[in-house]
Symmetry: C2
Subunit: 507 residues, 2 copies
Amino acid sequence: MAASRRLLKFGITRKEVLCFLRTLAPKNTGTKHYDDNDNCGSRLDYLFHPRSIALAGASRDPAKRGNELLHGFMDAGYKGQIYPINPGATEIAGLKAYPSVSAIPGPVDYVISVLPVGAAKPLTEDCAAKGVKAIQFYTAGFSETGDPAMKKREEEIVAIARAAGTRVLGPNCVGIYCPETGMVFHVGASKKSGPVGFISQSGGNSEDLVWAAPLRGVYFSKAISFGNAADLNESDFLEYLVHDPATNIVSGYLEGFKNGRKFVDQLRQAQGKKPVIILKGGRTEAGTRAVASHTGSLAGKMAVWDALCQQYGVVQFCSLDELLDMAVAFQYMKPPRGRRVAVIGSGGGASVQAADDCETCGCPVPKLPESARAELRTFTSEVGRFFANPLDSPTRGWAPEQFQHAIKIVLDQPEMDFLIVFIGVDITLFLHDGKKIRDRTTEALITAAGMVDKPIVVVLKSGGSLEGSQAVLEQQARLVEGGLPVYPTLPRAVSAVSRLIAWHERQ
Amino acid sequence: MAASRRLLKFGITRKEVLCFLRTLAPKNTGTKHYDDNDNCGSRLDYLFHPRSIALAGASRDPAKRGNELLHGFMDAGYKGQIYPINPGATEIAGLKAYPSVSAIPGPVDYVISVLPVGAAKPLTEDCAAKGVKAIQFYTAGFSETGDPAMKKREEEIVAIARAAGTRVLGPNCVGIYCPETGMVFHVGASKKSGPVGFISQSGGNSEDLVWAAPLRGVYFSKAISFGNAADLNESDFLEYLVHDPATNIVSGYLEGFKNGRKFVDQLRQAQGKKPVIILKGGRTEAGTRAVASHTGSLAGKMAVWDALCQQYGVVQFCSLDELLDMAVAFQYMKPPRGRRVAVIGSGGGASVQAADDCETCGCPVPKLPESARAELRTFTSEVGRFFANPLDSPTRGWAPEQFQHAIKIVLDQPEMDFLIVFIGVDITLFLHDGKKIRDRTTEALITAAGMVDKPIVVVLKSGGSLEGSQAVLEQQARLVEGGLPVYPTLPRAVSAVSRLIAWHERQ
C-alpha cells in the first residue's frame, strides 16, 4: 500500500503526479478520452501505412496548403492512391479530383482535412459513411479557442467518427511524417528514415524539427503532430513509439496531458529500453497561461513534473535546439567513461574560451602530461600555439597524419575520457586554400575516429555569413556521414555529452 | 584615507584589484611596460592613419598570408603606399617589391611582419634605422611560449624599437582593422565604419568578430589585436578608444593585464560616457592555465574582477556571441522603461516557448487586456492562434496594415514596455510564396517601428539549412538597415535587452 501511494521518489505520490498531469490538460480539458486499449503498441501501425489518402480542401492555387500538400506527398514518393477532394474541380496537380470522400470508388484509409472549421462535421459524416480508418484535421478553431460551443463541436465530430470506427488525429495539427511511406507535413522533407520518433502538440515545432534535424544527421522513424488530441492523444503515440521497433530514441514536445495515467505507465515501460527526451512547453506562468486553463501554484507543479522526469530518467529540455543536440548525442556517441575532456582547437582566444566553457559546463580539462607534449613536439611546432590542453591547431590546419597522430597521443592519456575538436570555420573563409584545409581536416577526423576507442565530438562554429553557413553545412554533412556528432557551439556540445553520460550512469 | 584604501565597493580594495590584475598578466609577466604617457588619447592616432605600409615577408604564393594581406589592403581601399618586402622578388601582386625596409625610397609609417621569429630582430633594426613609426608583428614564438630565452628576445626587440622611437604592436597578433583608412586583418572585411571599438588579446577572436558583426549591423571604428602586448598594451588601447570621438561603444576580449592601474583608471573615465563591454578569457582553472602563469585561488580572483566590473558598470560576457548581442542592443535600441514584454510570434508551440523564455530570462509577459483583444478581433481572426500575449501571427503572415495595427494596439497598452517579434523563418521555406511573405513582414515591421515610441526587437530563427540561413541573412540585412535590432534566438534577445536596461538604470 505504501508502495502504491508513494510510487515515486522525491516525496511525491502517484496521485499527485496524476493530479498534476490533469491540471496541465489542454484547454479542452474534459473531452472524453477513449482509453479503450484498442490502440496499444502496434495497433496504430495503420496510421503510418495508409493504402490511400484523400485531401479534403485540395486546391488549384499553388499558394494554398491544399495544393502544397499534394506536391509534398508526391515528392516524398508516397506509393498509395492520392485523391484530391474538391467539389469544383475534376483534376488538381495532375490527380483526378472528387467532390466528396464517398464519391471515391476504391477504399480510403486516411483523410486529411485543410477545410475551415464549419466544414469539419459534414466531412466527418462523409468519412464515417465511407468507412475511413482515420481523419487528420489541419482544421483549427475548435476547443483550443476556449469557446465551449467549439469544444462541443469537437466532441461531436469525435463521437461521429468513433461510432463508425474512424479515429481522429487533431484537430489543429499537421499530422504525420513517415519517410518510409512518404507521408509528410510539407514539401521538401527528408526521405531518409532514422531511429528518432517525435510526438508534438505543436505543428510548428514538428515542422521546424523535421526540417532542421537532417542537417545534424538526425532522421526520423515517425513524427506525429497531434494538436488538440481530441481522440488520439500524446499517451497513445508515446505508447506507439515506445513499442515501435523502428524507433530507438523517443522524443516529444508536450504542453498538456490527456491521459496522465497511461503517460506515466509508458514512461515506466520505456525505462532501460529507450531514451525519452521531452521539451515541456509551459514552464512559466505566461507559458502555462498560453496552453492550459488552470495555472495556480505553477512552481509546485513544475517540481512534480521534474520529479516525474527524474524518477523515469526522462531527459528534459528548454528548447528544440537542445532536444536536437541530445538526439545527436544518443544517435552518434558511445558514452565516455567520464567527463574529463581533451580539447583540440583553432586559435588562442578560442582555446581559452573552450577551456572556460568546458569547465563551466562541468567537464574538467585535465593538464596534458609533459610526456605527451614531448611526443607532440617531435612532429608539430609549438610556435604561436597553445601546446597543452587545449591543444591549438596550426593556423592552416594539420596535415592528416599529424592530426591523427596528435589525436591518438591526446586520447591515449588515461586522464582523458573524450575529445572535443572545435573548428572555427570563418577563419578559413578568407584563406586562399580554405576549402582544401576544411576537407583535409574533415577526412582526417573521420579516419582518426576509427583509430581510437574514446568518443570524438566536433564543434563547427561560424559567425553566420552565407559562405560560413555553407562551409559548415558541407563539413557537417560529411562528418555526420562519417559517424561523428557535430555541434554548433562548445557549450551545447559539452552539455549534451554531460547529459548523455548522466543518462547512461542511471541505467 | 579610508576612501583611497577602499576605493571600490563590495569590500574590495584598490590594492586588491591591482594585485589581481597583475597576477592575470600574460605569461610574459615582467616585461617592462612603457608607462610614459606619450600615448594617451589621440596620440596613438597615427597607428590608424599610416601614409605608407611595408609588409615584411610578402609572398608570391597566394596561399600565404604574406600575399593575402596585400590583396586585403588593396581590396579595402587603403590609400597610402604599400611596399612588399622580399629580397627575392621585384614585384608582388602588381606592387614593386623591396629587399628591405631601408631600401624603400620614401618614408614608411607602418611595418607589418609575417616573418618567422628568427627574422624579427634584424627587421626591427632595419625599421629603427628607417625611422618607422610602428611595427606590427604577426610573428609568434616569443614570450607566449613561456620560454625565458624567447621572452628575452621579445624584450630586446622592444628595446631596439623604442630606442629609435618606434612602437611595437604585438608580437603574436593580427594588428589593426580600421575601415576608414582601409587597414585590415584579412581579405573581405567590411569597408563600412561604425561606432564600435574593439580591443583583443586574441587574433582569432578579432578576425571572427570583424567577420561576423556586419551581418548583425554592427560596424567598427577600429579593432585592435595586440597579442603579447610587449610594448603597446590593452590599457593604451582602452584609453585610446575611451577618448576616440569615432567610438561610442568600447568592447574587448581580454585575458591578462599589462598595466592594471591605467586600465582601472580608464574604466573610471569611461563611466557615464561610453558603455564598456568585455569578454574575459580565463575564468576557470583550465582557461587561466592557458593564459597566465599564476593561477592559485582563482575563484577569489574572479570575485575581484566581477566586483571591478560592477563598480565601473562594465558589461561582462561569456562568449563573443553575447558581446555582439550587446553591441546590437547599444547600437540599435533606446532602453525600454521596464522589462515587461509583449510578444508577437508565429506558431503555437513557438509562442509557448517564447513566453517561457521571456519569463525565465526575467522579462515578465503581462496578460493582454480584454479590450485590446476585442480591438484585434475587429480585423484579424482568432482561429487556430494564440490570441493574447504572446499574440500568434497568421500562418501566412499579416497583411502590412493589419500587422502595424496589431503592433500599435499591443504597444499602446501601459502594461507593455517593449515588443519582441519572433519569426520562424523555416516555416516560410516550404510555402510557395514564402519570400513574398517574408518581405512583406520586413517592410511592415520597419514602418511600424517608426509609428510607435516603444522599442521593437526582432528574432529571426532558422534551423540552419542553406535556404534558411540565406533567408535570415536577407531579412536581417534589411531590418538592420531599417534600424531594428535583430537576434538569432529569443533568450539571447531578452538577455541583451535586460542588460541594456540594467546599464541605463545604473547611469
